[in-house]
């Protein structure tokens, strides 16, 4: 799975997610990616999220919307992302990762899996990582 989130100069947020799915899936299997609130969500009032990971688990906790709900309750982009991933791990036994932005341009790239390739560009500065803590 691949994805992107962005905030533009007008303060508008957006998300995009695309995937081939899970290895050797059944024909006709649809995962979290095209399901609104699961593979992604964007709302100028709160922020935008794109998700990746075990799709069935992501769908059970409606991960993208769950994270934005945590932000509505006052959590930071990092804390809300971690809370969403923790919920997915403990309630649905699933691993994954998310990228999250809020309309002010705060951003996070968090994951519960061993690795997730991510990159961010802001103020002409490039950030990237693959392992936890990078």
């Amino acid at each position: 799975t691949v994805g992107a989130v962005a905030v533009d100069s007008q303060g508008n947020v957006a998300c995009a997610t695309s995937t081939g799915g899970i290895l050797n899936k059944m024909e006709g299997r649809v995962g979290d990616t095209p399901c609104i609130g699961c593979g992604g969500y964007a709302d100028n009032m709160v922020g935008a999220v794109s998700t990746t990971g075990h799709g069935e688990a992501i769908m059970k906790v409606v991960l993208a919307k769950h994270i934005l709900y945590q932000m509505e309750q006052g959590q930071s982009v990092e804390a809300a992302s971690d809370l969403g991933l923790a919920c997915m791990k403990f309630r649905a036994a699933g691993l994954g990762g998310v990228i999250t932005v809020d309309p002010q341009g705060h951003w996070a790239a968090r994951f519960s899996s061993r690795q997730m390739a991510w990159a961010a560009a802001q103020k002409d500065t490039l950030h990237y990582g693959l392992y936890e803590g990078e």
Binding site: V2, T19, N24, A117, Y128, L130
Partner: protein, 166 residues
């Protein structure tokens, strides 16, 4: 407020020999998306540009390089959403399309629906003039190798892709 683009190339197990490919792929994609923002483009333009880059990169599981279903075929899903109007578009189980993310955006921009699937999505793509590509052009040697490996009776495809739960 500071404009920003963030991308991911998928969570899970990334073999060491593919880590450099993954890192260079996501940094190229985020540069492409950020260039759109710097040129005055919208956040939607930026995310579609970045994901198109990733779909065209065979190192990632989307577009070219997608994992295969149990029959050895490519079936892809994609989704876009913009935060101003909550407009969104999606496609699921689409085949023979190089960039499903662009098709998802067309669903958002040109229809009153949120998601089109399988044959209906393909018909919509034709009506929009989106070119069809041979399935073989989306399949890599790496994805075929993983498909074969996971046909074994004792294989665990989810664990193979996502890694073991800690």
């Amino acid at each position: 407020m500071l404009p920003v683009v963030v991308v991911h190339g998928g969570a899970g197990h990334i073999p060491k020999e593919r880590s450099e490919l993954s890192t260079s792929g996501v940094t190229s994609a985020v540069r492409a998306g950020y260039a759109v923002l710097r040129g005055g483009g919208s956040s939607m333009d930026a995310v579609v540009e970045a994901v198109t880059y990733l779909e065209n990169n065979p190192a990632f599981n989307a577009g070219c390089g997608s994992v295969l279903n149990v029959k050895g075929d490519v079936e892809m899903d994609a989704f876009v959403m913009e935060g101003k109007t909550l407009g969104s578009g999606a496609v699921s189980a689409v085949r023979n399309i190089a960039n499903p993310i662009q098709l998802a955006r067309l669903v958002m921009d040109k229809t009153s629906h949120l998601c089109l699937t399988a044959e209906g999505a393909k018909q919509f793509a034709r009506s929009m003039g989106v070119p069809e590509v041979p399935q073989e052009s989306l399949i890599t040697e790496y994805s075929r190798m993983r498909w074969r490996k996971n046909l074994a009776p004792d294989a665990n495809p989810v664990e193979c892709q996502m890694g073991k739960m800690g």
